[in-house]
């Protein structure tokens, strides 16, 4: 279950991912996130920052990274920037290896 919070003061859409992002669960997560982003309340909010809370994740594989990239592209279309909040140094290395840290701001919690 993906939780989301819209913060009108800094126009941030926070999406909290409950665990790992892996080939075995990414399809379901992707559907839930798109339902949130396409909802009327979120669409009309005019958010300018997409914040992905990945602090519960211990592993993100290539399929999970593809989802992160698609969300980044979605945000970019809306002229919004993307931030990933993580807590696991291994995931930080994964972002580094795939050079996604050059596009997405990666913040250690």
């Amino acid at each position: 279950m993906i939780n989301h919070i819209l913060n009108p003061s800094d126009k941030t859409l926070l999406l909290t991912i409950p665990g790992d992002l892996l080939s075995t669960n990414t399809d379901q997560i992707k559907k839930e996130i798109h339902a949130i982003i396409e909802s009327a309340s979120v669409k009309s909010a005019g958010w300018t920052t997409l914040k992905l809370d990945l602090t519960a994740a211990k592993m993100i594989d290539s399929v999970g990274l593809n989802l992160v990239v698609s969300l980044y592209k979605e945000a970019k279309k809306n002229n919004a920037k993307t931030t990933a909040v993580i807590s696991n140094p291994n995931i930080q290395r994964t972002f580094l290896f795939t050079r996604l840290d050059t596009h997405i701001q990666v913040v250690m919690a």
């Binding site: 892996l22 592993m59 594989d61 990239v69 994964t94 795939t98 996604l100 050059t102």
Partner: protein
């Protein structure tokens, strides 16, 4: 064996009570029933008697609980230290009922109320004597089994010549049993290793084991072929020790023997295996490749009169090691949720370093692991130890999370020194390459299979993963960052693998990939 029905006069009863009237009454009742009764007035006097005559000279002790000096309970505890089989009956007053539970916990077989009733006393003493005799016989049998077991374990002690080639890791779970290994130097360049598991964990299994080892050695030394030895022993198990029940179809045997023989000829570079109900052996090449030896698994010895021998011959083996184990290891690996190879490696490495694998305590059966060097020159490069070998069917959505648990457990057990961050890299690369092999290499077709092996070289501190599928191949040479395409949806898995592994080698156009992880 002691006759429990022997006459009562053979049985000595100690009656311990500080009150003279009670002693007289006890002696009267017991003597009348035919027992030889020794009356003593204190716990100290009873100790002195036992110390002088030995605990086995007495068949039952009837003692009052409350006595000046030591109580009956203190005497009971001391007696149990001398001979845990000796039955003790405690006499208590009705006001001392609270102590009954305590005396029973201490090992008393019964308690009697004061004043003593003759019928209850005689009935209780009769039962106590029977218990003493039964428990002494059981203790004697345990001692005998333990002694045979110790002798049997000493048989694992290999000669200096054998020890150069064979490593044995044995964790007995039972005092007696039938797991064993024998090494026979047949010529300066050839040797035979025989590993076996005799059914049962009792004195009988130990005897079968010892007899078989003697038979094999004697027949081989007199020039008999191994096939002849096995056929002879099979007949012996059925004809001599089997329990016949009318006809051959209903013959059952008291013991069966699962065994695997490995005949290694270093000069001819040939390896011949024969397997009779034994778990399939494995071969680990000098490059860390792991292959299950395709022996034809025939039935164990002692099952059927006809013994079909299926020698599995491999010419020009590339050296490396053979690894085999008894089924006790397979049961334990399943219980621990680890691969069998990982457990075998963990046990061998722990033994080499003088440690004990804590997980072995969970074993329900004897565990025997044997590793045989078949490299002609023993002074070769550092060895690879096997961690895992799995065959997976093609699938677009494989149950990778379930497999990941097995990978993680096996790596943690066999390579505990692998740093956590490197373990993460290995697991992530495994997910990517295995999914790639099953979804693309096998085209998702469950009829097609991909293989995964993991081995570790402790000297080079390198973990080697080999993934092979029957597909047309993959391009694993893709260099990361060679184009500014990190936002493309394609090849992210390949880029990751390239960054995670220290070195990637591919064969068959990438249908087989070898990933090395230094740590």
């Amino acid at each position: 064996m002691t006759d429990t029905n022997a006459s009562a006069t053979d049985k000595v009863i100690l009656a311990v009570d500080d009150e003279a009237v009670s002693r007289t009454l006890l002696a009267y009742f017991l003597n009348k029933a035919g027992y030889h009764t020794v009356t003593l007035d204190s716990a100290e006097a009873a100790r002195k008697y036992i110390a002088q005559h030995g605990p086995t000279a007495v068949h039952c002790v009837v003692t009052d609980y409350r006595m000046p000096g030591e109580t009956g309970l203190e005497l009971l505890i001391w007696l149990k230290q001398q001979d845990r089989a000796l039955s003790v009956i405690m006499i208590t007053a009705t006001t001392e009922r609270d102590f009954v539970a305590e005396t029973l916990r201490g090992g008393a077989v019964d308690f009697l109320d004061k004043p003593i009733a003759e019928a209850a006393l005689i009935q209780s003493v009769k039962r106590a004597i029977e218990l003493t005799i039964r428990d002494r016989e059981m203790a004697e049998a345990e001692r005998a089994i333990s002694q045979v077991g110790q002798t049997q374990h000493q048989l694992f002690g290999l000669s200096a010549e054998a020890a150069k080639r064979v490593e044995v890791c044995f964790h007995p779970r039972h005092q007696g049993g039938g797991d064993f290994i024998n090494y026979f130097q047949l010529s300066p360049t050839s040797f035979l290793v025989l590993t076996a598991d005799v059914s049962g964990h009792d004195l009988h299994a130990a005897f079968v084991s010892a007899y078989f080892q003697g038979l094999v050695r004697g027949m081989l030394e007199s020039g008999q072929a191994l096939e002849t030895v096995l056929t002879k022993f099979n007949s012996f198990l059925i004809d001599e020790w089997g329990i016949r029940q009318g006809n051959d179809d209903h013959t059952t045997t008291q013991a069966s023997v699962c065994l695997c023989t490995a005949l290694v000829d270093l000069a001819a570079t040939s390896l011949t295996l024969m397997n009779h109900g034994f778990p399939q052996p494995w071969h680990v090449s000098p490059e860390g490749r792991i292959v299950q030896c395709a022996t034809v698994n025939s039935h164990p010895l002692g099952w059927f009169n006809e013994l079909t021998l299926h020698p599995f011959q491999q010419s020009n083996p590339t050296g490396g090691r053979l690894i085999m184990w008894t089924d006790g290891l397979e049961d334990l690996a399943e219980a621990l949720g680890v691969s069998r190879l990982a457990l075998a490696t963990a046990l061998q490495l722990a033994q080499a370093s003088g440690h004990k694998t804590p997980q072995i305590a969970q074993a329900k059966d004897d565990v025997l692991v044997v590793s045989i060097q078949i490299t002609p020159n023993l002074l070769t490069a550092p060895q690879w130890f096997p961690v895992l070998h799995e065959i997976y069917p093609g699938s677009k959505t494989p149950p990778i999370d379930q497999w990941q648990t097995l990978w993680e457990n096996s790596l943690s057990l066999a390579v505990p020194t692998l740093p956590e961050s490197r373990r993460f890299d290995v697991i992530l690369a495994l997910r990517e390459t295995v999914i790639n092999a099953l979804a693309h290499g096998c085209a998702g077709n469950p009829e097609l299979k991909a293989s995964l092996t993991i081995s570790v070289n402790l000297v080079q501190r390198t973990l080697r993963i080999i993934i092979s599928d029957p597909g047309p191949g993959h391009d694993f040479t893709r260099k990361p960052h060679e184009a500014d395409d990190e936002l493309a949806d394609m090849h992210r898995g390949l880029s990751l693998i390239n960054r995670l592994a220290t070195q990637i080698t591919s064969n068959r156009n990438g249908a087989e990939v070898i990933l090395d992880f230094r740590y």
